[in-house]
């Protein structure tokens, strides 16, 4: 049963809109959020086949401006921020000084002319800690603004591009995966990024709270769009092999352990100079002690977060960090951390949950192929 909201649970700009559409509201990341409308499996499959509309306004939207922002950010993130061109988005990680992950995030270069500006989207449950960490660790010349007057919608799925074309003519065609732009709509500015958390083509739309409902309505007016709750968001990202902060990633996890080496840009591997670089570069060279892997489970019963991962002798070699039933594959899948020697696809594992053993196998991720819209594709 959904818990009653406590005094500290906040509501988002689209709260009544969700309720009017049958959204089942649950507390998440400090907000009342819709976990489902029609049902998680139906919403999941709809997104894989059509277009799903997600309210992700709980996430933190930040704007960083000032001379030398990119250089300052590079001390905290392992990505090549200096080489990120205006209008380009990069997935990155906010690191602590030991190389552990404080949060994972998306950063877009929104600079105009010589005015440096970077727009960042961070996780809802971690945003206040992120802001504190950034403020404490960035020089005073960098201005950090928390865009609390902005809502964030995501339109995801193979038909998202066609749907958005009707609302924002010409915009989808100008954007491939990991590109963003600003566009005026009904008198306000929208930030549009071609990215998401489902493995599908799609867009994230930053909109002033005042116009969030109007934009949601304009998108939902298209029959190809259905509202999608957090439940399907989780099963979609799991199938796409994408980690969830607080579950698959935490401050004890490094980017190399988390198999997010792609987020450590080439130049940064050579030059270092980011928080925890010494440890992270050593792990890149020698291999991590533990590594995040995907796995499939035999049978139908999901093995969920907290399940133990055992080797052939019954020794615990890791823990399940995400697990559930894949609506697309109709079987249980998951991810977790195992010793480096057990991380190759095809490796047989035994999982233990509530005293019951399960046969599992390390699987390549994504479980369901990504269908991002790439330039020239």
């Amino acid at each position: 049963m959904p818990e009653a909201p406590d005094a500290t649970t906040l509501t988002l700009p689209l709260d009544s809109w969700h309720r009017a559409r049958g959204g089942r509201m649950v507390p998440f990341a400090g907000y009342e959020m819709p976990v489902q409308y029609e049902g998680i499996i139906a919403e999941h499959l709809w997104t894989r086949e059509n277009a799903g509309l997600f309210d992700v306004s709980h996430m933190g939207q930040l704007m960083l401006t000032g001379t030398g922002v990119a250089e300052a950010l590079e001390r905290l993130l392992p990505g090549d921020i200096g080489g990120l061109k205006p209008g380009r988005i990069r997935y990155s990680l906010l690191l602590n000084d030991a190389g552990g992950i404080i949060d994972d995030l998306m950063v877009t270069n929104v600079s105009r002319g010589s005015d440096e500006a970077y727009y960042m989207v961070v996780n809802g449950a971690t945003k206040h800690g992120d802001i504190a960490s950034l403020r404490a660790r960035l020089p005073d010349t960098v201005k950090l603004e928390h865009l609390e007057e902005q809502a964030l919608l995501a339109l995801q799925g193979p038909l998202a591009r066609e749907v958005l074309e009707r609302v924002l003519p010409g915009v989808p065609d100008s954007l491939s995966f990991m590109q963003g732009t600003g566009v005026e709509w009904q008198g306000v500015m929208l930030g549009v990024g071609c990215s998401g958390y489902t493995g599908e083509d799609g867009f994230e739309l930053s909109v002033p709270n005042s116009h969030a409902e109007r934009l949601a309505e304009a998108l939902l007016a298209d029959d190809r769009v259905q509202p999608i709750g957090l439940g399907a968001r989780d099963s979609l990202r799991l199938e796409a092999g994408l980690p969830l902060y607080g579950h698959d990633l935490d401050e004890q996890t490094t980017p190399v352990m988390a198999d997010l080496g792609f987020a450590i840009s080439k130049r940064r591997r050579v030059e270092g100079g980011f928080a925890g670089a010494e440890r992270i570069l050593a792990e890149l060279a020698d291999g991590p002690v533990q590594k995040r892997v995907g796995f499939t489970v035999e049978g139908r019963q999901p093995v969920r977060e907290g399940g133990r991962i055992l080797d052939g002798e019954g020794n615990e070699v890791g823990r399940v960090t995400s697990g559930g039933f894949s609506p697309s594959l109709q079987r249980p899948i998951g991810m977790g951390y195992v010793a480096g020697a057990l991380a190759s696809p095809g490796t047989r594992l035994t999982l233990e949950q509530r005293g019951k053993l399960f046969a599992a196998e390390v699987a390549p991720t994504p479980f369901v192929p990504h269908r991002y819209h790439r330039k020239g594709a």
Binding site: I40, A42, G324
Partner: protein, 123 residues
């Protein structure tokens, strides 16, 4: 035939000394899409309140408790083969198990259908 409900959202249909147990319409709706169910094996002796079966939705795993004591006569293979039956017909085809009632007195204090519907509608 008598139908009873528990505060844990199980229903018990009693015919003679045979009790059929399942989860209520309210429970399946709260759980959402069910992807796995496991009923107890025939011959297992259940005590009242004991974990008897497992039901898992996309989001979470839940236990089904036996509302009465007795020996399991039959587990419903249909829900193992097609867990979604519990969503579509929770108080019919989606039953979990049948048990031979040891103590009719254990039914005292359970809710009848009207009381349960009234009580669960306010949750």
């Amino acid at each position: 035939m008598s139908l009873y409900f528990t505060k844990e959202h199980e229903w018990i249909r009693v015919e003679g000394d045979t009790a059929t147990v399942g989860i209520s319409q309210h429970a399946q709706n709260a759980l959402g899409d069910i992807v796995f169910a496991e009923a107890p094996q025939p011959g297992r002796r259940l005590r009242k309140g004991e974990e008897a079966a497992v039901v898992e939705s996309v989001k979470a795993a839940s236990d089904v408790y036996s509302p009465v004591s007795g020996e399991v006569i039959e587990g419903n293979q249909a829900i193992a083969d097609e867990p979604a039956l519990i969503n579509t017909d929770p108080e019919g085809e989606g039953w979990f198990f049948k048990v031979r009632l040891e103590d009719q007195g254990e039914l005292d204090g359970l809710m009848d259908e009207d009381s349960y519907r009234e009580w669960s509608s306010k949750l």
